[in-house]
Symmetry: C3
Subunit: 263 residues, 3 copies
């Protein structure tokens, strides 16, 4: 199985699929091709949340503002999964999450270590579409080689130097939390980096979000349509939403905005 | 085969696919993940029109404004098909259409009866994403069990109490019809609930739509680009359109608006 | 394998997939369903650029402003590929490109000749959705028959009269080039018909695009975010872009606009 993720819209992902299918015959599953364009951190966050739901697969990821420069291409082994994409940090949070889950499933007491390989990609056909010319062929090769044999593969060299993307840490105290907006989903729900556990004893309370008052609820529909609410989203993080409406508009928040929760 | 329908956009449908593929190995086909958000009636209409074109399948449907509340989860058997989704009415119009088609194909004189099961889903991981935590596992289970053996399945209890979604009936008379806009498609074509047969003898005539004059034609291109027209759409209903343009804008119509056709 | 391309958005492509899967069991790959609506030339351009990356397949293409009129349906054989769609020119540029590649791969000195068949489609169920009622069944039939046996197939009659779509030729001279915008991609990159080779010796130079000054670079990230640039895109043509921004807005250009490059 190969999953595909990018900020490409259409039809560029189809060219990647054609390139893969010229070489191998896996199931193909799109994760998204509508990641916010050139936003490595947002893609890294989404992939960390979505890829762990998949069975073992090769995950092709192309959110790549450095395309055509000398930035490297990486293949990352994470448990039974492999990730393929640019060396800009987009792969690592998902890889670590996958490796941790794999170690937990194996009961081997591992700490979610990943193996990172530099992929030597030579001189590709274009400098503007490495998804087609570099990463799709790499994903096909990784699929063919198999995740257990990456160490012996041509073109792959183990490396321990690679770019990281950092997610901000929230700051918690008695009176509230200072956090940041990680992503806004297609419903307009505002997903933060504040752990959902902070709300565990506050269901039914009202809290303030950057000074805006809203109740903590378990489910969107506990509020009337159009009303603001705070809840724990499916990522396990604090989320600001509007029942049957858009939380980003009602709370006036966008990705990377800072948020102060006061209780 | 499992089809997937939702109002999720991306990347949430990928999490549902991962959950399914952890369990079973069916063909997956997306119907749409761009149904109007939280609009159960629109999704019910689209599904009724699209699902009958499929061979036997499990249809996973998640348009679910009540997620996380105590609304039930349903599995509906309709001929050789099964539908899985929330108990808010979204499944039933498609299920009845599928069952009727199945009965007709079997020549058994059946009247399109469906079997509805309550699906006991326990305590899912989230209260905001039952697509991933309730319905995708249910669809995988239904795929594995098979539509003929649903009656003996764990977690499934036959029920004859479930939510309905009602489509309005048009009112027809000698001078015209009073109807309602069901959906607007991505071209901007305005699909009503008025049966196309009402136009059978009126091709070439001009009629009025809420006072706006337009000719009845068989094909969009019978009018010049940019011109208003009335035709019978692929759903068999009266449709307002503009050749190579947007009918919703030209006629000033949106879903749930009432329309008066005068001839 | 059957690929699907249209300007349908969702959920109409799903109806086409259902119709195909009622008949045959191929891999299905979406190329795009977001081609600019009713824009035959744009779709023809994209298909010419994307389809050659695929292994042998049947390519179902429905960008069809003449749906329901007496325009014909075509099946085109191009090497090991077949294309199915309306007779409005949308298939031919991709078909010729595929046939040329096939001849080159075979080393047979062929000149990329294609075989065009008229597909007799009778009286379809609708006059507004031939994707579902004409072209999807045709694609399924072509998949079943196989590209080598199209000549003997029912409903298919060889024809050498069919519509063409013409791409404008750029005009080049010592001081620059006059070209046209072919498409704008989802990043906002402006793809022209001017061959990339014209820039081969100009990397690092500044040129003018309709009077706007911009440097010629190899990769988007050679410029600071937000800055205009000119480069050779993945189609091999001259492209106007903004690093991490939208070239169409920065250069004030849209499809079919003329452009004067001065160096």
């Amino acid at each position: 199985m190969i999953t595909l993720s990018s900020d490409f819209g259409a039809p560029y992902p189809a060219a990647m699929k054609g390139v893969i299918l010229q070489r191998v015959d896996p199931r193909l599953v799109d994760v998204s091709h509508e990641f916010p364009r050139q936003d490595v951190r947002a893609a890294a966050f989404w992939l960390r949340e979505v890829l762990p739901w998949f069975p073992p697969a090769v995950h092709l990821v192309v959110v790549d503002p450095g395309v055509g420069t000398d930035r490297r291409a990486l293949v990352v082994r994470a448990g039974d999964h492999a990730l393929v994409g640019p060396d800009n940090g987009v792969l690592l949070p998902a890889a670590r999450r996958l490796a941790t889950a794999s170690d937990a499933a194996d009961g081997n007491g591992g700490d979610g270590e990943v193996e990172v390989f530099d992929y030597a990609y030579g001189d590709p056909a274009s400098r503007t579409f490495h998804g087609r010319d570099v990463f799709a062929p790499a994903a096909a090769a990784v699929h063919e080689i198999g995740v257990d044999d990456l160490g012996a593969a041509d073109r792959l060299t183990p490396t321990d130097e690679y770019e990281a993307v950092s997610f901000p840490d929230p700051s918690l105290d008695e009176t509230g939390a200072d956090g940041e907006v990680m992503v806004v989903d297609d419903f307009g729900n505002v997903v933060t980096n504040v752990p959902g556990e902070t709300l565990a004893d506050r269901v039914g309370d009202r809290i303030e979000v950057n000074g805006l008052d809203a109740p903590v609820v378990r489910a969107y529909a506990e509020r009337a349509p159009g009303e603001r609410l705070v809840t724990v989203g499916s990522h396990g993080n604090v989320e600001f939403a509007v029942n049957q409406g858009r939380g980003d508009e009602a709370f006036g928040l966008a990705p990377r905005d800072t948020v102060r929760l006061s209780w």
